[in-house]
Amino acid sequence: MPGLIGEEAFAAVAAAALELEGADGVEVLFMHEWAGNTRFASSQIHQSTAREDTSLRVRVIRDGRIGVASTNDFSSTGAGSAGRSALEMTGVVSPDPSFPGLAPPADIPAATGFDEATAATSPAQRAAAVAEVIASCGDRMHAAGAYETTAMELGIANTQGQRCWAPITQAQLNAVITGPDGGNGFAESITPRVEDVDPGALGAAAASKAVASTNPRPIEPGTYEVVLEPAASSTLLEFLAYLGLGGKGLLEGESCLAGRQGQRVADESITIFDDATDPHTVGPPFDFEGVPKRRVDLIRDGMFVDGVYDLRTAKQANTTSTGHGLPAPNPDGPFPLNLFLEPGTASVDEMIAATGRGLLVTRFHYTNVVHPIESTITGMTRDGTFLIEDGKIVGPVHNLRFTQSVLGALSDVSMVGRDTALASEFFFAASCVPALKIDRFTFSSTSDH
């Protein structure tokens, strides 16, 4: 285990950039990560990897002009060299009139997301967990997936005097178990602590779903009631964030929620917030500009409150940063990385029982944007899609392609699940979400499996 470099060692290296002659302001972003990943397929471990890397990203301001350079040479020499490269850039670029300045000194919430056991997880421990997943496979079934344990420390220091440092860990295990006759099942676990991962239970859940989805039958596309399990709900939430919740898009009119603050945009059962300080998620208690993170309400009882802001967009919107800045330079603007959809009171069984004719969806695959202003996205179901009739699961069906407005779907939510899970999305970070029952959800075509 490489171990933490630590706040003091970071400060000592950062000083070489912070003391750069000729600069009006300097910011140093430090990241150090070590991770191990045990990947499996066809019920064998086929890739077993480890990596360790550092990075120093130096932003220099001179006469209102900005340059950024980064290096993975974690040394005073590396920091100084990156700083000089960034300083050179300030000599050729035009002034940035909307530069808001560097983050001022501010207290940072205590970091609680580092777990020594997770950081120290050995290849043998990961392999043993994977063996448990594989042991869940029944006759003629096989498992694929990955178990990754990651430790990271992040630090920010700037010439305004702001200093942040926090270590975090994450353990992520996912599995797809495949049966002989088209059956597939998916399960995952994402947590800051490796002790919370239960490989046997995860494998059993995936295997059970693989059995249930054996011999899927064709189904016609159309508009259905749907019950989305958390892994599918997370796709709606993350694409809503991408299309609507960033301060830049809100300011510039490219957001599906632009100008809709204070308006109803979803069913009143929907409350969405971002909170990196919640112990159920994974993330540092400050953003990549050094601004403290806190809970930010985004949609409350179906009403759009506001989006997230970094220092630049906050200045433009005449508000304050919500702590959602990404590493500079950042043409895409701020983004919420720790989303929550507040749970309701229903179980998945109750949602199924309340469905006349609909589909139970395990998760979506390779979703992408169709019409950003209408929040319309398209993607495929995978790893277990089931027809529901008269309140009961009838059987598995072929995968379907949905083409659906996210805001439209959230406006048609009729039940919100009582249990939440930290669920991943193909292109985005994980969000903490419950299952959802949506009364109208459009599927535009089907596949052959």
Binding site: A35, Q47, T49, S70, S94, A146, P329, T403, D448
Partner: protein, 479 residues
């Protein structure tokens, strides 16, 4: 750096590896973005380190570290061995590598004018002027220009005796106009979307792009689209520009013929494939005019190199011949499973990652005639250009793609523009409906800079040579 790679291989062999290879690498990048004549981002980065891959008792282990002192190399080599030994807790077939004659060589990819030596002032001035010209068009909201430069030096050594020092340069640039009007947002890009046209070349590629001369037209089309009618929903004849054919080849052929996907090695994340080893020589993947080639020797491609990250020499491989599927892209590990030898397509996202099967330059070989000929030969249909969106299922069967712009084709002529165009289909049905492919004069080697795969996620830059093409009976305007 080659000494570092050799030292790592020696350390791994001494620690018990049955086979070892190592890549000591350095990546340099520079990106610039100008929006509305203001600098939105300028960024340089460097990254270096070594990745050590070992086979122990038929199982892979891999460890990568940014530090390359002797003690750290020893630690990483032992960690790679530990990774491999841990994998043996689960029984399975041992990895067998296809034979390979080790090579000692060095190679530099094409680069006439070093992009990292071109003054920043010149690059900023180009983007600022392109942005200014786009802003001259009334109604334009954002005028964006971007440049991206990459250089990767990889020093590869193996316990079989290979020692290869290889440097590759990629350069790209593009412009994008955004018009926001009455709740409608329309983007128009040139020469392609997602930061333009990236090529395996130096700054001479940027000079050839015509970013300034195309600025006004690009902006005008974005503004025009805000008031254009929506793409209708119907089944019709579809003509695609070469940039969208690039995306179509990438998603519905390139990924589907990766042998690791076919063998289930990516099942949990990116997915598998509808293509099976038994399909070789028999699957009617496309119409007889369709020929697809994987060519890592293609000049200007992002998937061009002299040796892959296993030390296998670059190859040109037929994938689909006269519409029939013939061969997968593969690696030393996967090819023997189906009785083949590696087609030399293993690449890693830098020194810190394990090599995976990645597309090289997967190209649709040119047909004949021009785009104008194809449109002139089309009574009724739609012409779509420039990719905007993509989605395809986990076996690469059901797809739905969107473009920036379309035009109605009426009586062999382009008519009114259409906004928000989309189309959908089933892979083999769609490719079997292809009845026209434009010729070599319309053939462009495009770059896809953002191809994702693997856990942990890796990004590869891959190439596709494509011409405009026509497809019959296609569902467009998906709602």
């Amino acid at each position: 750096m080659l000494d570092v790679a050799k030292e790592a291989v020696d350390a791994a062999a001494a620690a018990g590896a049955d086979y070892a290879d190592a890549r000591a690498g350095r990546d340099d990048t520079e990106t610039l973005t100008v929006r509305n004549q203001e600098m939105e981002g300028i960024d340089r980065s460097t990254s270096s380190g070594v990745g050590i891959r070992v086979l122990v008792n038929g199982r892979w282990g891999f460890a990568a570290t940014a530090r390359t002192d002797a003690a750290e190399i020893q630690r990483a080599a032992k960690l790679a061995i530990e990774q491999a030994r841990a994998a043996t807790v689960v029984p399975g077939d041992p990895v067998q590598l296809s034979d390979l004659e080790p090579v000692v060589d060095h190679w530099h990819g094409p680069c006439q004018e070093d992009p990292f030596e071109v003054p920043l002032e010149e690059k900023v001035a180009l983007l600022t002027e392109a942005s200014r010209r786009m802003q001259q068009v009334p109604g334009i909201t954002f005028a964006i220009g971007s440049l991206d430069f990459y250089r990767r030096r990889t020093c590869f050594a193996s316990s079989e005796g290979a020692a290869i020092d290889q440097t590759i340069t990629h350069s790209g640039g593009g412009i994008e106009a955004v018009a926001v009007d009455d709740g409608e947002v329309q983007h128009r890009s040139y020469p392609n979307s997602f930061r333009g046209h990236l090529s395996g070349a130096g700054y001479e590629h940027i000079r050839s792009l015509g970013l300034l001369t195309e600025a006004e037209r690009t902006s005008s089309q974005a503004v025009e689209l805000t008031h254009a009618p929506e793409c209708p929903t119907e089944i019709t004849t579809l003509v695609l520009d070469s940039g969208q054919v690039e995306l179509q080849v990438h998603e519905s052929i390139g990924h589907a013929v990766e042998l690791d996907r076919v063998l289930g090695m990516e099942a949990a994340y990116a997915g598998t494939s509808f293509v099976t080893p038994q399909d070789r020589g028999s699957l009617r993947y496309a119409s007889p005019i369709v020929n697809i080639t994987a060519d890592a020797t293609l000049r200007g491609g992002l998937g061009t190199f002299a040796y892959d990250d296993e030390g296998v020499r670059a190859q040109r491989t037929p994938i689909i011949v006269d519409g029939t599927f013939e061969r997968f892209i593969s690696s030393r590990e996967t090819a023997p499973v189906i009785g083949d030898v590696s087609s030399g397509t293993m690449r890693a996202d830098g020194w810190a990652h394990l090599p995976l099967i990645r597309m090289t330059n997967i190209s649709l070989e040119p047909g004949e005639g021009s785009l104008a000929d194809i449109i002139g030969d089309t009574d009724d249909g739609v012409y779509m250009a420039t990719n905007r969106s993509w989605s395809i299922d986990d076996k690469r069967v059901n797809f739905q793609f969107g473009c920036e712009i379309a035009w109605r084709i009426r009586d062999g002529k382009l008519a009114e523009p259409l906004r928000n165009p989309t189309y959908a289909g089933i892979t083999t049905g769609f490719w079997n409906s292809c009845d026209a492919i434009a010729g070599p004069e319309e053939w462009t080697v495009w770059g896809t800079p953002n191809c994702g795969k693997g856990q942990p996620g890796q990004v590869a830059r891959v190439g596709h040579g494509t011409s405009p093409a026509r497809f019959r009976n296609v569902q467009i305007g998906v709602r």
